[in-house]
Assembly symmetry: C2
Homo-oligomer: 125 residues x 2
DNA sequence: TTTAACCTTTACGTAAACGTCAACATAAAG
DNA sequence: CTTTATGTTGACGTTTACGTAAAGGTTAAA
């Protein structure tokens, strides 16, 4: 059996508060087991949390992250459901490609600006 | 002299509301000229708005977008100020690199999941 | 001249994503 | 047995990023 975590371990691991983790549970993104009254998180839960936080860094809403988490679930369904899932996955991939382009544009712009700054510095001396 | 826009033209161009544009002004991200009582936006303003919206797609707060906009301003300052600006630009570029990695990980994961779905579909037939 | 289509400011409302208590349970340590 | 640390469930507060009227000014067409 693989490692489990309690809530504060997990919070420390990702540098977030326990409140945040409970909030994600409230929103249906996590559903940890219980040992008595206390929450117990599995390795799977940890991965889900990681996905959520990665999504956050990319500006996803929790709703979107929940969608993504659902995608990772094998959730063996009918052929029709699988097709729909594939469609949703492709949409997400498209959106991510768009973000890639946005980032690249920003990187170019910032690199340009930095160049101009460096040039201005050289001109001062 | 280059083209100018009124608020609703600009809103239509970017598919946002005029309220949104005024809100960005409230927050100090835009400072359009006035023709009488009405706002007049220059090409520069349009570019700024574009930067803001690009930032939004990447999960930036308006505060962060304002920072970025300030970076693009030549704002000829002292050597010290230029150095600090270069530092901030490099930090942003670092952060964007991090986002690139996040996106690439997500793309890989989603591609994996899609493969599994396709495989599951093939196994059903 | 009135009606329509714009613009303006001011102000209150709202959803998302938590922060921040409060009040209580429990288990280990001194 | 009391303190200390950690957990729990509410419940209300806060910030961000706008939405949604309300009340009014200006220009152009009918």
């Amino acid at each position: 059996m693989s490692k489990t975590y309690n809530i504060s371990e997990l919070a420390a691991k990702f540098d977030i508060t326990t409140r945040t983790i409970r909030f994600y549970e409230e929103k249906g993104l996590l559903t940890p087991a219980r040992l008595g009254n206390n929450r117990v998180y599995t390795e799977q839960d940890r991965v889900k949390l990681q996905l959520i936080l990665r999504g956050k860094r990319l500006g996803f809403s929790l709703e979107e992250s929940r969608d993504i988490i659902e995608m990772y679930d094998p959730a063996t369904g009918s052929a029709e459901q699988l097709q729909r899932l594939i469609g949703r996955i492709q949409e997400k991939r498209q959106a991510l490609q768009g973000q890639l382009e946005d980032i690249e544009m920003m990187l170019v712009d910032l690199a340009d600006t930095e160049q101009k700054c460096q040039q201005a510095l050289r001109n001062m001396k």
